[in-house]
């Protein structure tokens, strides 16, 4: 058979990201380290407030609509999806399994490393919560970090994982909703992990970075340290809170406040803005004037509080892990803070983040072919496709039979 008769089939991955502001369904293939878009569907989320589902029926409708749009644009029926989890109902903890290496020669076998992993998994999660994922963390052999302990000699093998758990009720709800759309869930993936896969490169993850995904209802973060995921968490404050603050301070309607936030708000308050006035036209009561200093003060105060809350959350987790207080310094995390997500588009946010965390901070957007997706709010769903690839079987190559040729004909 000549070579052109074999078919390389990179796996097609469908990813569903249900956020507070929007629901995105993306069908893609990973080709040469970037995501190729096959199908895309997006809807405004209804029924989710601050990351928690309030109205399941409306949410089901809107997710179903997004799935139908994605199917129509991809041209084939979706059967398996990867879903992201985010919000206050997701929690994580570190679980560690310790194994004393048996055997006279103290050589670690594959069975030993599996045994250590199994003993880590035996730790019970808190009641009412179910385990979703285990994310690999460094393996220590006699206190030394090793990449692969099999074959090495030592006495004490410690394997640790970052275990992600989810509240049972909302998890069942989510699964039931997706199953009702005749979609089977292959895997749940952590939203912050997905965002990190999209915007942080291998180099950043290896040196150490903190990725923040500032969404509309929640801000989720994940810490990479020396190439492993150290911890992750979520703060239930997002871009909507900034809008609410502006709404209350300027005494305007929500859509006007949102518009003002997008156009004029900044994360840093400059005192000499006090005399600059913003005129907003086209409102029912005529035009209104706002003081720019007010807008920036309100927004910057809220954003700083949010960043401070994230910092406290990170510090708390690190204290749990290391047993002592750990400072976030550039020595600890050389790649600093990477900001993504819809709310990261606030002006001068990296400056504020740099001040709050004491680390170099920058905003990042995901790299993809499709220009419409090169925005920070799509980082999570693009990262889902890339992260899910680890789960899939390696791409198949086999001789193209009649059915394959036929199938490829119908695949544009």
């Amino acid at each position: 058979m000549s070579k052109r008769r074999t078919v390389p089939l990179p796996p097609r991955i469908a990813a569903v990201d249900i956020g507070t502001a929007k629901t995105v369904v993306l069908v893609g293939q990973v080709v040469d380290r970037s995501v190729r878009l096959l199908g895309f569907g997006e809807r405004r989320t209804e029924g989710v407030v601050k990351g928690v589902v309030e109205d399941l029926e409306r949410l089901t409708e809107c997710v179903h609509g997004a799935v139908a749009d994605a199917e129509a644009s991809a041209g084939f029926t979706l059967r398996n999806v990867y879903a992201s989890v985010n919000g206050p109902q997701v929690d994580g903890e570190r679980v560690k399994g310790i194994l004393t290496v048996p055997g006279r020669d103290r050589r670690v076998t594959v069975a030993d490393s599996l045994g250590a992993a199994a003993s880590a998994r035996r730790i019970e999660p808190p009641p009412g919560r179910m385990t979703l994922l285990y994310m690999a963390q460094p393996t220590l052999l006699d206190g030394r970090q090793v990449a692969n302990p099999v074959g090495m000699t030592g006495e004490r093998l410690e394997t640790s994982f970052w275990r992600v758990t989810h509240e049972e009720g909302s998890l069942r709800q989510r699964i039931g909703m997706l199953n009702g759309m005749s979609l089977e869930i292959n895997e749940f993936l952590l939203g912050s992990h997905a965002s990190a896969c999209a915007v942080a490169g291998e180099g950043d993850k290896r040196t150490g970075c903190l990725v923040l995904d500032l969404g509309a209802g929640t801000t989720s973060w994940i810490l990479h340290y020396r190439g492993h995921i150290l911890c992750a968490g979520c703060v239930p404050v997002g871009g909507e809170h900034v809008t609410n603050d502006l709404c209350s301070a300027l005494r305007v309607r929500r859509d006007v406040a949102e518009d003002i936030k997008l156009k004029f708000a900044s994360a840093v308050h400059h005192p000499d803005d006090a005399n600059k006035t913003i005129v907003k036209e086209g409102l029912p009561g005529g035009e209104l004037q706002f003081n720019r200093a007010t807008i920036n003060l309100v927004a910057s105060v809220r954003v700083r509080e949010l960043l401070e809350q994230v910092r406290q959350d990170v510090a708390g987790r690190l204290r749990q892990i290391f047993g002592r207080d750990v400072d976030l310094t550039p020595a600890f995390l050389p790649s600093g803070v990477i900001l993504t997500g819809g709310a990261s588009q606030l002006a001068e946010l990296p400056v504020a983040a740099g001040e709050v965390f004491g680390l170099p901070a920058r905003c990042a957007i995901p790299a993809t072919e499709a220009a419409q997706l090169r925005r920070p709010e799509y980082a999570c769903v693009l990262g889902l496709v890339a992260a899910a690839l680890v789960n899939e079987a390696p791409p198949r190559r086999r001789p193209a039979g009649f059915w394959d040729i036929l199938r490829n004909l119908f695949r544009s």
Binding site: D245, C247, A274, N291, R302
Partner: protein, 385 residues
């Protein structure tokens, strides 16, 4: 009903009595003042002539220390005296800071007593600042619920919002002065409803029709403006005031009382325009009352005040069947407020949280993060140009 003093202003607790004391001199003659407290020294310092000291035996001249239970007990101990003092006034206005022990504990008792005596009870209550701590706020909220039940109308003044009224560079003491100014404006407006020389007079019975039964939710605001179109501008200023709740949860009220005070050039047309502006925002579909007064002292300026009220539903829903009392607690009668009061109280609380009003509170490190940060941290915003 003595026409000499149709309004009785009662300051309850340390904050209330000191406020009333400050205002005592500047109030019109139609207002009579009374200070009620347990702390003898504070009563003496308040400067109000009529005083009632609560809990002479239990508290012995000391304050309640923030314990509302002590405050209510002390008030109940002096029921006879209070009844005597509260009698004879058609309108009783209670002023209290609900964070304190006496303020929080005694005010509902007084409101009940005054209502029993046949007066229309209007309560002006302040809630503590957010940065005074959640515990004070929680006890203040409980007291507010009880007050709702007892008084005909309750106007809540959130200290956070008061903060925004003061100029940015003012010290903290100025805030209390600002609260005083607000309350005095309120008293003035209310007394002005019934004063002589009104363009469109009102009688005290009007207030009764506005607040027919205990449990109404009320809102009050006042605004001042000068110059051309002062009346309409004053109406808009009243609406835009930080003390007036704003947002989709503010809701509309069924009863509206508007008071316009203007210079000699005040016309009925101006008044009607002001009323229209207020009605568009507030409602007032069932009853709208307009009172107008000429104030020759300040011809160029105009002041517009309104009192909006939503009465509690006329036929209260039958109380839900009492849940079987837990074993071992026979005879325990939970003093839980009825659902209506909780609902109206909750609406009041939700206004702080703005768009997130109807969702569950979002506690992070013990704070409700849905409330705007600048309110919680007490940051004053620069005024708009």
């Amino acid at each position: 009903m003595s026409p000499a003093a149709p309004i009785l202003l009662v300051g309850v607790g340390g904050a209330g009595s000191s406020l009333v004391g400050r205002l005592a001199g500047s109030l019109p003659g139609t207002v009579r003042c009374l200070a009620v407290d347990a702390d003898a020294a504070a009563l003496a310092a308040s400067g109000v002539a009529d005083q009632v000291q609560l809990g002479r035996s239990s508290l012995r001249g000391l304050g309640a220390g923030g314990e509302t239970r002590l405050g209510s007990d002390a008030a109940e101990a002096e029921t006879a005296e209070l009844r005597r003092r509260l009698a004879g006034a058609p309108v009783v206005v209670l002023v209290a800071g609900l964070g304190g022990g006496i303020g929080g504990g005694a005010t509902p008792v007084l409101a009940a007593l005054a209502a029993e005596a046949g007066a229309t009870v209007l309560a002006l209550a302040t809630l503590p600042f957010s940065h005074e701590g959640e515990r004070r706020l929680a006890s203040a909220r409980d007291a507010l619920v009880a007050l709702h039940r007892a008084a005909h109308g309750t106007v809540v003044l959130r200290n956070d919002a008061l903060l925004q009224l003061a100029p940015a560079s003012a010290p903290v003491s100025e805030l209390f002065a600002e609260t005083g100014r607000w309350i005095s404006a309120a008293i003035e407006a209310i007394s002005g409803f019934f004063a002589e020389g009104a363009l469109l007079p009102l009688d005290p019975g009007a207030l009764r029709s506005l607040l027919p039964a205990p449990g109404s939710r009320a809102a009050f605001s006042t605004g001042r403006a000068e110059g051309e179109g002062a009346v309409l501008a004053a109406a808009r200023a009243a609406l835009a005031s930080p003390l007036h709740p704003h947002g989709p949860e503010a809701g509309r009220h069924e009863h509206l009382l508007v008071q316009v005070v203007g210079g000699p050039g005040l016309t009925t047309g101006d008044c009607q325009a002001a009323v229209a502006a207020l009605r568009s925002e507030l409602g007032g579909d069932r009853i709208t009352l307009l009172g107008a007064r000429i104030d020759a002292a300040d011809p160029a300026s105009a002041r517009v005040s309104f009192l909006a009220a939503s009465p509690a539903p006329a036929a209260p829903a039958p109380a839900p069947a009492p849940s079987p009392s837990p074993r071992g607690r026979k005879g325990a009668r939970a003093a839980a407020p009825s659902p209506q009061q909780l609902f109206s109280f909750a609406q009041e609380e939700n206004l702080r949280r703005g768009l997130f009003g109807t969702s569950a509170p979002n506690l992070f490190n013990g704070e409700d993060v849905d409330v705007p940060t600048y309110l919680r941290k007490g940051i004053r915003l620069p005024s708009a140009d």
